[in-house]
Amino acid sequence: MPLETRHFKEEIQELLDNRLNHEARLKVEQHLESCEECRREWEALRWTKDIAWRERAPESVPAKLEENILAALALEDDRSSAKTVPLRIWRRRRRAILAYGFVLLVGVALALSYFIFRTQLRKAPDLPSAVARDYRNYKTEKLSLMLRTGEAEEMESFFSERGVAFNTRVFDLNMMNYHLEGGRVHELIGRQSALFVYRGEGNKILICQMYPGQALELPASGAILRENKGIRFYIYRVHGLTVAFWQEGAITCALTSDIDPEEVVQLAFAKAVKI
């Protein structure tokens, strides 16, 4: 069939998206002048394309988005440089390191065996998921408290007596209408943790865990970084829960709850101490 005797359905779209060469374009434009049906189709599709294009700018980007992206990149840089430092040392002091190589090798092998044994060959720790799991287990009564007390000092003494190898700091959240319920000596991905629970109005539950560790172990993916009083907070959202991590010396604290995310962050801001 000659091109001119049919309607130009596909060519109209190509014309609309500027994908025709000069000759084909002229042919389609000539056809549009003489064919009412194709002209109306062209106008309707051009109208639709224009209307869709108006969608280009209506949404404003959340104010914190770019800040969070930059913070996530900074955390990624920190993690990368932490990984590359040992390599740099190796390159610079190769001879000295080789002199102690054998001894170190034995030490590393022993440490590795111990680590493998302790972690039972588990994957790299996903701390946000682990603390979120503990929260859910407590809420569904799969995780019990070893001591029920409303006294922060009694809770701290309990942790000390039960062999927790670091100083715990059980916060007083009474001013914020959260009351200590009790705690337990816990294990968080192969390490000892002091876990204590608060309950607020409307049965709201907050769980705090303190464990020996570094913020660099936390995953960069999904982290929202906030800073307050010179302390860096790593906020994660895990299946509807909010987990706020921060570093206090050699100890990492994690506050977890299903309450409003900003409330968790503000509670963490209020109780964190720079060490």
Binding site: E10, Q13, D17, R19, E37, R40, E41, E43, A44, L45, R46, W47, T48, K49, D50, I51, A52, W53, R54, E55, R56, A57, P58, E59, V61, P62, K64, L65, E66, N68, I69, L70, A72, L73, E76, D77, S80, S81, A220, S221, G222, I224, R237
Partner: protein, 193 residues
Amino acid sequence: MMDSPITNADTKRALFEATALPFTKPLYNTALRLTHRPEDASDLVQETYLRAYRTFHNFTRGTNCKAWLFTIMYSIFVNKYRKERREPEAVSIEELEETFHRFLTTAEWDPYRALNPREVGTEVDQALNLLSEEFRLTVLLVDVEEMSYEEAAAIMNCPVGTVRSRLFRARKLLFIELQQYALKKGYVQKAKL
């Protein structure tokens, strides 16, 4: 200057920020229309930038950074954020053409009058959301973000012909949805019922 691989760690961050950060807004706009939740859209965009930063050494300077970021974002969306996938509209092409032309011929449709944004405001957003994910994304990439068929095909990992046929249907479906709305509101009148 010859394009060279990005190897210097000190310049990587500055180069990445200068190259990739200007696209935060289009990425967020599209992420929002894919996830429908501002929190998920923010997380998706943040994760996109993090993955892009980790693989920035694979990015060839001078090529289309926006399309590269969209490719990463769509891949993360498909693997992590997509909750349920609605199949493309089951309506046959004949049926679609018939409805489309019925609106062109039986409604007093005036393209110049209908362009008034007052008449089609948030309804465009709603009409876009009625499209299947593939149709919606195709319109967003080609009509909103002004990408080529080839770039859209690379992002959605499909042949260029698929982009063409999705656009062919999606624009007509979008037109029908908007005309139905305009008809309901009395912005256009049926010539014959």
